[in-house]
């Protein structure tokens, strides 16, 4: 029997960086990715037929080109399985995957695992966020990278964070500038935090390039501005907004929302770096620090694993200090864009999967446990397993909702037919 591989879940920057580092050290790697190509959301590649690349910082292109060259150079050590969805870890410690191309589930007992499944976007809900035509800014950006085409018709971008102007600039360069960008925070009122952001090494050049693209396309960027509701209107949406003290209404085709990112932890195994089969988290799925940090964090996880398996880890201290710098940039950004929470209207949907509203949440005891919120409130019981309503409820209650522990599989719906065709790497 050959040596069991190190399993890496997720082929974004963190997973790919971990895979290259381990393979270069001579360890066999099994790299599993849910999409048909590696890259993650940040390095999403154009679909085969689309030749046009979306405008993005050259640094990201260079980083990904360098990383894919490293993966190619040690291709013999890395088995890559694409279109394969991670389902979780079963009661016997087996990692389960749904191979969507083969229509079968397979089980793996790796020597160790690094889980690098990235982040999910957070949303601050308002009545109508659940409608068709409302998409996350990150989801729209992934689509833009794949197709090279912006969505047709008027676009409004709203929420908070650096992704808003970045996506607006990319849409403008691709030929359909948004009608406006509504930023919940008021960064211009916090010059001290903006200065701290620049001093912390924030990507100010990148921000300036986006600002220039927005100015050129005459896209207004409004601070202290929030969407208050959206309603269906023919093929589009009527969107109500508050900009400072003004209330306005706009008709658009697409409303792109985003209020930051959080590690994607729902159903993900808990980190256990000292276990017999060590499990480590890496990248935005461990701590949401962005794409540049994810490259470092994937390498860090790989080096930690190598140290645990008896190889050296001389570089770790240097990586830690660079990650600490990324942490300071994120903290300064959050401070610059900070805004007071707004209580949603009672009819606002919180759990889209189960159709549960803010009024339903309020009907529960203020100190309801996570179990009560799930079983009595039916929040987070639906298909998304609380990936979206969980952070919303945490923000509204001012404290995190503890996850089901231990994590249960499957963390994605899987067909019984695929399960019935289960194959395992134990039967040789």
């Amino acid at each position: 029997m050959t040596e069991a591989p190190i399993l890496i879940v997720g082929g974004g920057p963190a997973g790919a960086s971990a895979a290259a580092t381990l393979a270069e050290a001579g360890l066999p790697v099994l790299l599993v990715e849910q999409r048909d190509q590696l890259g993650g959301a940040i390095h999403r590649q154009p679909a085969n037929g689309a030749g046009n690349h979306v405008w993005r910082p050259a640094r990201h292109r260079r980083n990904w080109a360098a990383l894919t060259a490293r993966l190619r150079a040690c291709a013999g050590m890395i088995e890559i399985r694409t279109q394969t969805v991670f389902l979780g870890v079963d009661g016997e410690g087996r990692f389960l995957f749904d191979d969507r191309r083969a229509g079968r589930v397979f089980a793996s007992r790796p020597r160790a695992a690094i889980v690098a499944v990235g982040a999910v976007e957070t949303i601050r809900p308002f009545p109508g966020w659940e409608l068709p035509g409302v998409m996350t800014a990150g989801g729209a950006q992934v689509l833009l990278k794949e197709t090279g085409r912006p969505p047709e018709g008027p676009i409004l971008i709203a929420g908070s964070g650096p992704l808003l102007p970045a996506l607006a600039a990319q849409l403008a360069r691709a030929g359909n500038p948004p009608v406006a960008v509504l930023e919940r925070g008021r960064p211009w009122r916090r010059p001290a935090t903006l200065a701290r952001l620049a001093l912390a090494g924030g990507p100010m050049g990148e921000a300036a390039a986006y600002a220039a693209a927005l100015a050129l396309a005459r896209v207004p960027y409004r601070g202290g501005a929030v969407v208050t509701r959206a309603e269906p209107d023919g093929a589009g949406l009527t969107v109500g907004m508050r900009i400072g003290a003004d209330e306005r209404v706009l008709r658009v085709r697409h409303l792109l929302i985003h209020d930051g990112i959080e590690p994607n932890r729902v159903g993900i195994p808990l980190p256990a770096p000292e276990a017999a089969v060590p499990v480590l988290l890496a990248g935005d799925g461990r701590e949401a620090l962005g794409a540049d940090a994810a490259l470092l964090d994937g390498r860090r996880a790989a080096l930690q694993l190598l140290a645990r398996l008896g190889a050296g880890a001389a570089e770790l201290a240097g990586l830690e200090s660079r990650l600490e710098r990324a942490r300071r940039v994120q903290a300064a950004l959050a401070q610059a864009l900070r805004s007071e929470p707004v209580e949603p209207a009672p009819e606002t949907l919180i759990c889209r999967c189960e159709g549960r509203s803010y009024a339903d949440l309020q009907a529960l005891d203020g100190d309801a446990s996570a179990r009560e919120i799930r079983l009595m409130g039916r929040f987070g019981l639906g298909a998304c397993q609380g990936r979206f309503c969980g952070p919303m409820i945490a923000a509204l209650r001012g404290r995190p909702v503890p996850a089901a522990s231990p994590p249960r599989w499957p963390l994605r719906p899987v067909s019984v037919a695929a399960l019935a065709r289960l194959s395992t790497d134990e039967t040789e």
């Binding site: 048909d36 037929g49 689309a50 999910v120 889209r352 189960e354």
Partner: protein, 88 residues
């Protein structure tokens, strides 16, 4: 070379390598159906397979997230059936 799949019986064109979601949206299909009057219907939302809002039914196969799944010639797709939805 492009191909076609079917959404509720209607042909939808796709480009090579494109996801089902990208093709549906390009065809102007944003509303992926309403299983019943109680729950909101399907739609593409997060683009990374997390929200499950864009899961579509596939004839003779398991439902898939349209944002993750490459379109294929001749696929017959439609709104997710209401089975299992609604608990009241």
């Amino acid at each position: 070379m492009s191909g076609h799949f079917f959404w509720s019986g209607m042909p939808v064109a796709f480009l090579p390598g494109e996801t089902i979601a990208a093709a549906l949206l390009r065809a102007g299909i944003a509303d992926l159906g309403r299983p019943d009057g109680h729950l909101p219907g399907g739609r593409v939302f997060c683009g990374i397979g997390a929200c499950q809002g864009c899961v579509v039914a596939v004839e003779d196969a398991a439902p898939v997230e349209s944002c993750l799944t490459p379109a294929q010639e001749g696929l017959r797709l439609g709104p997710l059936p209401a089975t299992g939805a609604g608990h009241d």
